[in-house]
Amino acid sequence: MKEGHSYLPEDIETLLQEKAFVDLYPEEKAFVLKHVQSAEEYKRLRALHQHLNANVTDLFDDPGMPDDRVRQNLLAAMQEERLKKQALWLNHLLSLFRLNSDPASPAKAGAFVFLLLVGVFIYYRTNDKPKLRGEGVVVTTDTTKGKIPAPVSSDTPMAKEELAKQVLPTETQKQDHRKPVPKLIAADTTRELLAQHINSSKDSLPVVTLSNDVIATVNGTTTNVVPTIIDSQAVLTTSASAPLLFSSESATSMQYTWTNSSNATYAVVGPTVSIGPVKSRALSADAGFMDLMYSVK
């Protein structure tokens, strides 16, 4: 304590802690003696103060720890509180989807729509993998009718030979172009539609089914086919008499043929390959070919 300091009664606590009576400045002594009766009392107070500081923890009995059940109760409460908060969070999230519950909240509705769109986008991004590599466009057979062989009666040997020349590769061509063909994959919808169209034709055209592992079904018989390349076209040779031509990855045209009930072989050729949902169809009964207008993917 400095001289000239205006001592407050509470400062005695500090003096007791720091100074013996003999060490006090005259002003401090004067101040102290205003509040204690004598130097002796100051000594007693100081001794007690120091004794308490040093020993009070030892002097008191130690009550120890609270019972462990307190801890257990608290941890259970903590867990309950956490679950409650999680439930609240989930409810809050779900409330975003209840548009009618809060019509005055366009922000929530907007958030809901946004989440929905994001969900749809993610779904299609993950599920809408390209089914046919190299696809780009859809075909209309209108543009290719000229390339399609005219319906020929397969009864005549001449006709069969003609068709074979047009559609089937020669031995030399087969050897030259025999190389692995990329998988031809048609989207499910396309496959089904194609089958439907062909099935629904009055000519009882054979069922042609495309599948991911390139299985052709002709006249109800599923056949594993080994495609070979002919001029950038994959030829699926089936056990049936009618060859099925499909485009390969690098093909610029798509062609498939089938044999109708009268054993006539028809073919449809398209300029480029892109399997999408069929937009329109037209069956030319007399010619035996089918116009299929595909949508562009």
């Binding site: 100081r46 001794a47 007690l48």
Partner: protein
Amino acid sequence: MNWFGPKYSELSDEQLMQRIGRSDDRAFSELYQRYQKALFRYFHRMLWKDREKAEDFVQDFFMKIIRKPESFDASRKFSTWMYSIAHNMCKNEYRSMEIRKPSDFETETYYLVGTPGDQIEKQIDRKKFMVQLVQELEELDENQRSTFLLRYEENLSIREISEVLSCSEGTVKSRLFYTLRRLASRLTVFAPESQKVSS
């Protein structure tokens, strides 16, 4: 970067409180571990050494933390805040009780296990001193008792006590001085000559 999360033992009380706000069980366990004893001791002293009541109060205090962690003022030191809440809980209890429960200090035991023979007499004096001290503390009002316990038993600073009790530091010092004077005049067993205090 700590791949296994923080070391809870190294986090400050205030950081633990933040985590408890996010329902972190481990943070709560750590905080409980740190303060269960001090808080229990405080309640035990303040509530007439009623062990069950003190346990209930400890539980109630930590329940408050679990249910309303946001009630903690992050700008304050946790221990100071804790004692101020504890003090208020005791005050409420005093109000609800209205009467003071008589001290049961006489049932306490003071063990002299391992005490050398030549110090037994001194230990007995200490026991007498302790018994009288506890009795005297029972006579104090709750503010004075709380001030005394926080200062001498919990070793809080004057400033911290003033925060806990929401009063000025001067008031704390005055209370301590008043309590000290009262004790010095009543603790006959206390012999200042034997304390070897330079005066």
